[in-house]
Amino acid sequence: MASTRDIHDIMGMGGGPVQKPTNKKKKKVVEAQPRLSGISREVQALMGDSVPPVQIVEPPKYKSKPSLANKLYKPRHWQEIPFKPGARSDGLSLTHWKRALPSHRPLQLNGDVEMVDGIQPSLKPEYQFEEEFPMDKWAVAVRVPDYTDEQYERHFKADDWTREETDYLVKLASEYDLRWIVIADRYDPQEIQSAQIGGEALEVAKNYSSRTMEQLKLRYYQVAAQDLELRTPKASMNPTEFALYEKMRSFDAKTETLRKAMAEKLFERTKDEAEEERTLLEELHRITKNEEEFIAMRRDLYARLEAAPSLRRNERGEEQNIVLSSAGLSELLSRLFAKEKHLKRRAPAPGDSNSTAQQQSADGRSRANTSLSRRDTMDTATEPSKKGSVSQQIVPKQLTQAEEERYGVSHPNERLTSGVSFRHEKINRVTTAKSQVQTQKINAALTELEIPARLSMPTEKVCKEFERLVSQIQLLLDARRTLARVSEEVKTLEEMRRQRLGLPPLAEQNASGEAMDVDKTAPAPGQVGRNSTTETLQSGSLGGQTVNGVDGGPGPAVDEDDEDAEGEDDVEASNLEKTQNDEEDEADNTGLNDDSMAQRDEGDEDENAEEEDEEDDDDDDVGVEDEDEDDDEGNAALMRGVDNDDGEDEGEHDVDDDDVEDEDEEEEAVPLHEEGDEEEEEEQQRERGFARHQTEDEATDADNDDDTQNVTMDDVEPEENDPDAEDDDEDVADNRPTSAGSRGHKRGASVISDASGAGSNRSGAGRKRRR
């Protein structure tokens, strides 16, 4: 770097004056002698440069001792001075040693004081001392009630306490500052007599009984509360006073005695009992300590259980690695393996009608069989023959009835889902009914009964009871609905009769508010008719193509349902309209939501090409419903992404493509009359704070009801995976709340999301449905 010197050089200004003094300084420093302390400068100068051979001055210590000679240390003055303790009234004078305050030196006397014979030096040094500490502030006394004879007679009298006893008690209370343990210890009936005067008292004294602490407390609190009330009327007490007053008033000696008896029992536990409690407490402590950890672990476990299938969907290639990383979930792993194998096996043989037919027939025959066969493929995909031996090894012991109960072993008749499942999942399935509205109603009923939706302790028994309860609720709800419908029908018929007879509408009609409501909200006959047509057509196409043709099992039920619907339509005598209306609707919807429509169209095209496959797939899915639950959840999750819905409901429920169809049929078949009830009920619920959900629901309901005919939904099919078609609807409705009667589109949207998640294979239902 260039220094100033360089600059000077370059500028031709010479070395500059800066340099010289530094040189000088350096020289000086080098020459300087280590200065010896303790010697005056003159002496050191005499020595010159030579260093003395012997150390003539002691090097200073780091910390010198205080010495009076050096005047480094001056003793503070202490003096024994008398004082009078503040809390005393008797003028007792005690003495203690006090140190003078440092700021006030005694008057300095220059030089020695000459002692004059007989005369003390008059200049006595004066010191100042700290003020006495006000120790008397700790002399506090407790305030006890006091009363005159008259007051006692009027207010404080008690049956079981004499005046003397009360006096004695109050005296003790003030003496021992309300330390009840001490008071009870010192309470001596013998002393009461000694407080009295004369021999007469002795006779009375015999009656005084000893008292328990509770009796003493009770009496004192009575007196004190009374006293407090006399002093300050109840109305003008301040909160603390009133709290005290209330506390004293409500003292319950019996409870206290009981508590003490129990405490005594607790105190006299045996060693074993104490040990047991100790271990329990330790366990509790451990649990509470690790609670957060447990919760985190459980959450993690849930996350894994839920996330794993969706992973499979998304990234088939990586799925294995990801699942392997979650150690301890070997069950899940094996399940996924099995599924993977299943898929692989199935994938190359879409045209293998033999295998699919087999599977279909198996599905058709019975579900239990299916599940069994599923298990076979799962556990021992390669060597099914070994399975029996394996299971024998696993269950070598025959459990007794009691043991089975204890370990929760069950022999369920319904088919088992493969893999790990939680009981509460099953329970959730129970609470979700066919339609959203139904589900809400069931939940409302449960909340009314104060039963949490997720059972806190889902033991086998509890679950069974819960299932029973829910089915009862469902039954009741259905009954109510039927009642409403029938009564409505009766009314309609009466009305018709009246019209036929040419009578004017009666005021009777308005008698029931419910009926009015229904009338108001009932759609125009034309509208109803139109929509119902759509439904009929749709169901017809469905029945023809999928259900009736291929399936033996669930198909007929749906069909029946549909037929019902049609029948009812006829009864209603609404005028049927053309499918075109529906298509128009669709067109509108397309305008509203281009994006989804485009997607759907794509899906359509694909599906057209692979219609055969779809059908197979769908059927497959019916059989493999449970297997696919997770997949469907995955779908739901995906849909969340696509539709940008709030997916809470979806996350919990399952969507099954086939069920979407069945489901919707049924859901559309929700009778019109329900609305009256519904609104009532919903109002209630809103009051309970479900506001948001419910309004959504209402919107959905409005939609639905527009679409619905007066169709019975008598057959409550025990489908497990009902509900979510509705959810979809709801969500879509959320997105476009204006589009009433846009069923087709809604369905399309949901299905498309499915399709985009699962590949074109799985979106057949939606397409068919639209057709």
Partner: protein, 471 residues
Amino acid sequence: MAALTSKDEPRTAEYAGDEVSAIVLDPGYASTRAGFAGEDAPKSIVPSNYAFYQDACLFGDHVIDVPRDNVEIRNPYSRDGIVEDWDTAEKLWKYSFASKLTGIRPNKALQEWLNDVNAVPNLQKAMADAEDTERALEDHPLFMSEPNWNPIKNREKAIEIALEKWAAPAFYISKSSVLSAFSMGKSTALVIDIGASQLSVAAVHDGMILRKSITRSHLGGNYISSQIRSMLATHDPPITINPHYMVKAKQPVDAGQPANAILKTFDQFKQPPQTSYHRYQEEKTILEFKEVCLQTWASGTSFRGQGEAIAREQYAHPFEFPDGYNQTFSSDRFKIVETLFDAQCHSPSPAGSLDAQYYPAPEQNQTIPGLVKLCINQCDVDLRPMLLASVVITGSASLIKGLPDRIQGELTRMYPSTKVRVNAAGMPVERKFGSWIGGSIVASLGTFHQMWISKKEYEEHGASIVEKRCK
């Protein structure tokens, strides 16, 4: 002044003591302790035994050990540990502080009037005053301890002596168990005090003793001594103690061999020292035996039967008597202490002896666990867990090896449902002088000033004030 609530915390300065140079006097059956309040140990420790020699009382540690002509060792206390002989007790107490702490106060007559005849106003009055000025405690308030079971009369007598005879400006008396609890920093405690004459258990709540809970028995240090005596007497061969004062010369002998010692004769006296003197000297040897040999059976097994056999084999300990006789003691040294816990371990003293009269076989409820049980049962059930959580052990006899641990074990076994925690000071001085230390703490507190009974109050209310004020 605004009333204080429990939330008002004292400032740091307020914790500090405010010493008014009070004297703390802690009289006991074995020794009388005195010292200035605020110190951590008594400065003056005088044996309560005194030598009665030629119609005079000799106090002090060494004076009474000298063998004298017909000297008798006496004790002003009864075997309950309360004062019987007030005249001597007063002298003894005065000696305990006057000899080392306050000194004999200089006579005003000597100091002021000796050189100035004119200053003497009235000779008669002067002589009376001179006597008066000898009063020992004119500048020092007196703080005393008393046994838990001290009768009211004795308390009144004590305040009378202190305020009238010693002219103390103020006086206070407190139960020794309370003070022991204070010395361990507890205001609520179950105090097990194993003194010389008495074993006492008492519950202290909030600095106040619960009168109904006071229990005691004779299983104190002296009882243990009597057990040692009877053990030695029943030993095979019987061992007689020749205290140090009797031994003139001795030769070392092997274990179990008879002593080879020359004993002193006391022919120079008209009458040799009395039995009480001999006994007192024996007691010194026994004390040594206690310190060296006695041990508490701590193992989980019960001592009787199994433990005794184990102790016999494994825990032998030698002891040499002043005359050179030495012997190993094994199970006996446990058995003696075991009596404090198990009444059946009592070994009866020779019939007709003083010991047999004074120290009869104890009942089971006179042992430590028995007394604790009695005491606890007298307390409120809410208080019991608190008491057991702070059990304070004090008293010289509790210095026997392993005793606090054993008590801890016993109480834990007795009360499995609550936490038992035994507090015993680690230092022997603190254990021995627990009640004195507690008194020293209390009397040096600034807040204690309001508690003193002043002379004026005493004059107004009479001696009965002590019962009102010292609760």
